[in-house]
């Protein structure tokens, strides 16, 4: 039962974009991916939503600066389970070019479990779509395990 539900449910991934202090390259590419006809993620049922409470897939970019950290974590907390996290670009994982800055908390995975990582600086839209597809797999697995509740 969970199995068929999983494959149906994952056809409606709603995306939310979270900027953790990025240089806006990844954000522009996410907006491009999410909104323009050339990539049309709506084919996959994706919708770009304005409120974190509507989201299923969170795209995070940026090296997590100290000033934005608490706000990012608070917003992340407002996203209902089950949610899947996709790190767009390398900054959330290692800081990329901003590694070891005094204002960056670099490893975002101390706070948030990154389910999928899309390396690139910034990754091309197709790569982001690939990341979303991977995220859907993760989501499906979670649905099949019945792990929908807040863990």
């Amino acid at each position: 039962m969970f199995k068929s539900l999983g494959s149906l449910v994952t056809r409606s991934p709603w995306i939310y974009r979270l900027n953790a202090g990025s240089c806006n390259g990844c954000d522009v590419e996410m907006a491009t991916t999410a909104l323009i006809p050339r990539y049309d993620v709506e084919r996959l049922g994706c919708k770009y939503c304005g409120s974190p409470r509507h989201a299923d897939i969170v795209l995070i970019s940026g090296p997590l600066t100290l000033r934005v950290r608490d706000k990012v974590l608070r917003v992340f907390d407002e996203i209902p389970h089950p949610k899947v996290t996709v790190a767009v670009g390398v900054c959330p994982v290692t800081g990329g070019a901003f590694r070891d800055s005094y204002t960056c908390d670099t490893a975002l995975d101390q706070y948030i479990n990154l389910d999928v990582i899309v390396p690139g600086c910034p990754p091309r839209p197709q790569a982001i779509i690939e990341g979303i597809a991977k995220a859907l797999e993760v989501w499906k697995e979670r649905m099949e395990e019945g792990a929908c509740s807040r863990s």
Binding site: L18, N19, G21, S22, C23, N24, G25, C26, D27, V28, E29, A31, T32, L35, I36, P37, R38, G50, G62, P63, T65, R67, V68, K71, V72, V75, G96, A97, F98, D100, S101, Y102, T103, C104, C121, P122, R124, P125
Partner: protein
């Protein structure tokens, strides 16, 4: 509904590409006061730059901001070249102008597209972004990345334009030209765009001078200051283009000015591709950077970029400082937003083409 209440805009707000926090005091739908809180994208890049060597800083400055990602390393390299007295080969200077203008077109189209998105005109936004994709393809096809071109190196350019990519570029420009003209017409005549943007966020000339704004924001208010003309660099003195100015100084005139500048950029690109001389695209080997200080400026899509570099003779800068256009334009928002409607806040903020990651570094 006469009581005043505070509407927090941001820091993670859909209308803003980047985290920025405004405390907007609202009465009904009218804005009474705006307070800015910055620093969410402050990544300590100046400290990083002082800890990275000259080469690493090419990449680092490119990551200041991805929308004007070519202007930063270009100005940084220019500052170093001024410092070391390096003469860049002429072909490389043409190549630099080409990279700059490609980025300018893409950036301006992105900005006017976002404006359409903010007035809820998503189809027009998509249309503008589809037009921008033509330039994105150029970036990806010629340079290898859609945002960060990686075009520059100290003493030249890392890439070269061969016959094939020249043909590709000219094809794309020919595709772009009628579409941009059509887009100009839509923005100029669409009644919705006009009702929503004309007379909104006005910055009169005297205020523009007082707040020392730069770039399209200044030019839309009537300040005729374009670094490409005022402080010639690369091969701009040899190129034929006109500095666009306007007098209305509202959201609409800024958007129109950007489209007109994009049209000028297309013509600059064509001139460059035609006139580019044969020759090396970079200086061979590694150039030592002597002790000293130097300044370079260039016109990024958003306005004047300023670089100050100070070297103590080691392979790292003693100090590398840059000032970006948005840094100058932020404060003028308080003039533009005075007494506007809640619905106009995103529009006005977007009209200065804010680049927060640039500003906060």
């Amino acid at each position: 509904m006469s009581s005043t209440y505070t509407l927090p805009v941001g820091p993670l707000h859909v209308a803003l590409e980047e985290p920025m926090y405004f405390d907007v005091k609202v009465e009904g739908e009218t804005v009474r006061a705006v307070e800015l809180a910055a620093g969410h994208v402050h990544r300590g890049m100046e400290a990083l730059a002082m800890n990275r060597n000259w080469f690493q800083n090419i990449t680092l400055t490119e990551r200041v901001c991805s929308l004007c990602s070519n202007s930063h390393p270009a100005t940084y390299c220019m500052a170093l070249e001024n410092l070391a007295g390096i003469v860049v080969p002429e072909r490389a200077q043409y190549l630099r102008v080409i990279a700059d203008e490609v980025k300018r077109i893409a950036s301006h189209l992105f900005n006017v597209g976002i404006m359409a998105h903010l007035v809820g005109f998503d189809s027009l936004f998509m249309h503008a972004m589809e037009i921008r994709e033509i330039m994105q393809d150029v970036k990806e096809g010629v340079y290898g990345n859609r945002m960060n071109l990686g075009a520059l190196t100290i003493g030249g350019c890392r890439y070269d334009i061969d016959e094939e990519s020249k043909g590709f570029m000219l094809d794309q420009l020919n595709k772009l030209k009628p579409l941009v003209a059509e887009l100009h017409n839509v923005y100029d005549t669409d009644p919705l765009i006009k009702t929503r943007t004309q007379g909104i966020g006005v910055l009169p000339l005297d205020k523009a001078i007082e707040y020392e704004v730069v770039g399209p924001v200044a030019r839309a208010s009537g300040v005729n200051y374009d670094v490409r003309r005022k402080v010639p660099y690369a091969v701009y003195p040899e190129l034929d283009f006109e500095v666009q100015t306007d007098t209305a100084g509202d959201v609409h005139s800024r958007a129109m000015l950007r489209i007109r500048e994009a049209v000028e950029s297309v013509s600059i690109l064509e001139q460059c591709l035609e006139r580019m001389p044969e020759g090396p695209n970079q200086l061979p080997g590694f150039v030592p950077i002597p002790k000293g200080e130097a300044i370079a400026r260039s016109e990024a899509p958003r306005g004047e970029v300023f670089y100050y570099v100070r070297s103590d003779g080691t392979d790292m800068p003693q100090r590398l400082k840059w000032r970006v256009p948005t840094y100058m334009n932020w404060e003028a928002l308080q003039v533009m937003m005075a007494g506007c409607q809640v619905a106009d806040i995103p529009l006005i903020v977007n009209s200065i083409d804010p680049c927060i990651s640039c500003t906060e570094r």
